[in-house]
């Protein structure tokens, strides 16, 4: 089977070379799609074999690096990557048809597919580093596909430099592991970490904790976590298929790398708590900034940031396989959003979708006027219904699952999302609010139940060892008091939101004027994205200017 894994990567590379070095004009797409269909077919065979219980294996092509492996994570990720890549290839065939760099685009897409496949199938640290490094580089050239565009280059550069920044912690982690355990093989070093989880450096620093922190830092850069997120919303100057591939596949690498190094995280519970906090902050910041955008593409960018926050948060609570499911689900829906953006624009040209006024609806269209349910009733539903669905869903999968505190993610995700959905229905004037509420609750039930069942299935596939699954959750465990505290906090946030909503609709003119100033400052802060990008830009300008000045003083020698 591992030979087939190798074949996957080779097929993508061969396609890239044929298109890159040949002159095929518009036929480049057909060649590329042919190879990608083959790759997807092979990936499906591998996944089916793994589901059928085929044993894990490693293929060594060179003494030091260049080995690939066949394991559940590699099989699953290969199928996802090749599937999304094939969709993007098929879409690009017509979308890019008028582009002068048609062949180059497909060659780079194939190269990206090869790098992604190499990353998920790498069996040694060096091969993984090479793939990890090349992904940033190839992504840069894909984003900068329109070569004369300075803005595309500039924002592509932001992506590249953040990716390069995230390469370095992984390099350090790999070097530490190799130095201490004497092997580049991922399986060997992880086995040694598991055998001696309490090992320390001479300085007393825990090895597992340090490596886990470095891997997590690397994942943060790749998955646009807070403070390393500024590149993501600005990379919209690249072609739409690249945005789709990036948001659907590349940006999710953070969850993959944490899963790959799972045994290290089992021995470093405190790092998982840090991961949880970073994910939480990113999820909240991303969602906040998304709501403040008036540009749909930037809004989608921040939506991805919020989703990445959730994904990393899931890792932080030990729900590693859930993060992989989230990665796939997010990849599919975000790719759909990006690839259908062109049709959405066309549709918007035909019908702007702005709702008519109430008077127009009543007099001209002769339809009933819209109304709202009392807010107290809606607030009660918001608090009660999502929580009930979540508890039932967990109970159905296994009563004991609530003991695993990874359940908090579902609680947080499902509850907040459910509350947000019901809250927006309340704010929306509709002719039949109960119909809308029922639809929302039904869809929430489907989503949460599906999510719980599927994540459980992923758990069984990726981590068949029950003891290891327990060990991950126990590493991420927090004290029962903290757990209860978080549940209470979530409840308070929802209650506070409702109180704010009530006050906003019932306050008089004077109070509105008083609070307007505060909201204006808040909006300025949000619309400037907390000035983080400005701060980075000022710092890099400072470095460049001083460098120029010093060179002048030293006469450029």
């Amino acid at each position: 089977m591992e030979r087939l894994v190798f074949l996957l990567i080779i097929l993508a590379l061969v396609s890239a070379c044929i298109i890159g070095f040949g002159r095929f004009g518009r036929h480049a797409a057909a060649i590329s799609i042919f190879f990608n269909t083959l790759i997807f077919g092979v990936a499906l065979v591998l996944l089916a074999a793994k589901l059928g219980g085929a044993p894990n294996g490693v293929l060594h092509l060179n003494a030091v690096w260049g080995s690939v492996q066949f394991d559940p994570l590699a099989a699953l990720m290969s199928a996802v990557i090749s599937g999304i890549s094939l969709i993007v290839h098929i879409y690009s065939r017509r979308y890019m048809v008028e582009d002068p760099g048609y062949g180059r685009f497909f060659a780079l897409l194939d190269l990206m597919t090869a790098c992604l496949l190499l990353m998920v199938c790498a069996a040694d640290l060096l091969t993984m580093l090479i793939a990890w490094n090349l992904i940033g580089l190839v992504l840069f050239w894909l984003l900068d596909h329109c070569l004369p565009s300075r803005s595309a280059y500039r924002y592509g550069f932001w992506t590249f430099i953040t990716y390069r920044f995230s390469d370095l912690p992984l390099v350090l982690a790999a070097l530490i592991l190799h130095r201490l355990y004497g092997s580049w093989s991922i399986a060997v070093v992880l086995a040694k970490v598991t055998a001696n989880p309490g090992m320390t450096f001479t300085s007393g620093l825990p090895v597992a904790g340090t490596v886990a922190a470095l891997v997590a830092l690397s994942a943060f850069g790749r998955s646009a976590q807070f403070l390393l997120h500024t590149w993501l919303p600005y990379t919209m100057d690249g072609p739409t298929p690249v945005s789709a591939l990036m948001h659907a596949g590349i940006v999710n690498a953070g969850a993959f790398i944490i899963n790959r190094f799972a045994p290290v995280f089992v021995a470093a519970g405190f790092v998982l708590h840090w991961v949880f906090v970073v994910g939480l902050v990113t999820a909240i910041t991303g969602s906040l900034l998304m709501l403040a955008q008036n540009d749909i593409k930037k809004s989608l960018g921040y939506s991805t940031m919020g989703q990445m926050g959730f994904m990393i948060m899931e890792c932080g609570v030990g729900a590693f396989s859930l993060a992989i499911f989230h990665l796939i689900a997010h990849g599919l829906f975000k790719a759909t959003l990006f690839l259908s953006s062109g049709s959405a624009i066309n549709q918007a040209r035909a019908d702007d979708g702005v709702p008519k006024s109430e008077l127009y609806t009543f007099v001209v269209e002769r339809r009933a006027t819209a109304y709202r349910q009392p807010w107290q009733l809606m607030a009660l539903i918001t608090l009660g219904v999502p929580a009930a669905i979540l508890l039932i869903a967990h109970w159905l999968v296994g009563a004991g699952i609530l003991v695993e505190q990874g359940a908090i993610v579902l609680l947080f995700f499902g509850w907040i999302t459910g509350a947000q959905l019901l809250f927006s229905i309340h704010r929306m004037d509709t002719e039949d609010p109960w119909r809308m509420v029922s639809l929302a609750i039904v869809s929430l039930v489907v989503v949460v139940l599906g999510y719980t069942f599927i994540s459980h299935a992923f758990d069984l596939f990726l981590y068949p060892d029950v003891a290891f699954r327990r060990a991950i959750f126990s590493a991420a465990a927090i004290s029962p008091a903290t757990f209860d505290g978080v549940v209470v906090l979530v409840t308070l946030v929802i209650v506070a939101g409702w109180i704010l909503a009530y006050r906003a609709t019932h306050q008089d003119q004077d109070s509105r004027v008083r609070t307007a100033r505060f909201w204006l400052i808040y909006y300025a802060l949000i619309s400037r994205e907390f000035y983080i990008a400005d701060l980075y830009a000022a710092a890099s300008r400072g470095m460049l200017n001083t460098s120029r000045q010093v060179n002048l003083w030293l006469r450029w020698v």
């Binding site: 003494a63 090349l134 004369p148 280059y153 350090l172 460098s547």
Partner: protein, 251 residues
């Protein structure tokens, strides 16, 4: 005393301010062949001299600071030749980090060669550009892919090759040095590497973006030259494989 003994080596494994000698010499020499010899031999002489005395920790720190300083200075450089000289100084000064009694000199020589060969590739492509335009200067040769797509492609690859991009030899050279350094030093070396990448993309911006503004147009690389360059890059990658096996195996 030790510092004094290391002084001659500090010219060839350049440490600031003695590093200025190499930059001056490199920028004065115009002939590609002489430059190639210079780039290939300079660090090897340095390594030969460095073995006469074991470098102190202070010297290593100074070497790291030199590497950081030249990487940072390369940020504002727009002339390709000077950029190569600055990156060469920055890369070779890192070799001090790899030198201690526990490692054999032969593998360190290979690491030096890895850096030199990668820089040599950039020099060759740079000379092809200079022959056509007269000067390889970022910002002046904007929109290069418009008039010479092949040359622009090779320029991009060769510049990336110089800043330790896999799978070129400089990548395995820097990995070899990182492999021989402590965690603190390795963090510093990683910072140098990060700045190199920044300088490379800043330099390329001046060649790649915008449209071609100069009145004179020129012929792109012919098929034979392109083929030779592709072959050269493949050979370089094969050498990188050998370098990785020699410098990163076991331990």
């Amino acid at each position: 005393m030790l510092v004094l003994a290391a002084l001659p080596a500090a010219i060839f494994l350049p440490l600031f301010p003695l590093s200025a000698l190499f930059v001056l010499l490199f920028c004065r020499v115009a002939d590609l062949r002489v430059r190639a010899v210079l780039v290939l031999l300079w660090p090897q002489i340095g390594l030969m001299l460095a073995t006469l005395s074991a470098p102190s920790q202070a010297l290593r720190v100074w070497a790291l600071l030199t590497a950081l300083f030249y990487a940072w200075r390369a940020l504002s450089v727009q002339e390709l030749d000077r950029w190569i000289a600055f990156i060469a100084v920055s890369a070779w000064s890192l070799l001090w980090m790899g030198w201690d009694t526990t490692h054999d000199l032969a593998s360190l020589r290979l690491l030096a060669l890895g850096f030199s060969l990668s820089l040599l590739t950039t020099m060759v492509v740079g000379s092809l550009l200079q022959r056509r335009v007269g000067v390889a200067y970022a910002g002046l040769n904007h929109g290069l892919p418009e008039v010479a797509p092949r040359l622009a492609g090779f320029l991009v690859v060769s510049v990336l090759c110089a800043v330790a991009t896999p799978p070129f030899p400089s990548f395995f050279a820097i990995m070899g040095i990182l492999h021989r350094s402590g965690l603190g030093m390795a963090t510093g070396i990683c910072t140098v590497w990060l700045i190199w990448s920044w300088t490379a993309l800043r330099l390329l911006e001046g060649f790649i973006t915008n449209s071609w503004k100069l009145p004179r147009r020129f012929a792109d690389l012919d098929r034979m030259t392109s083929f030779a360059l592709v072959l050269g890059l493949f050979v370089l990658c094969a050498m990188a494989l050998g370098l990785s096996n020699a410098s990163l195996a076991g331990q």
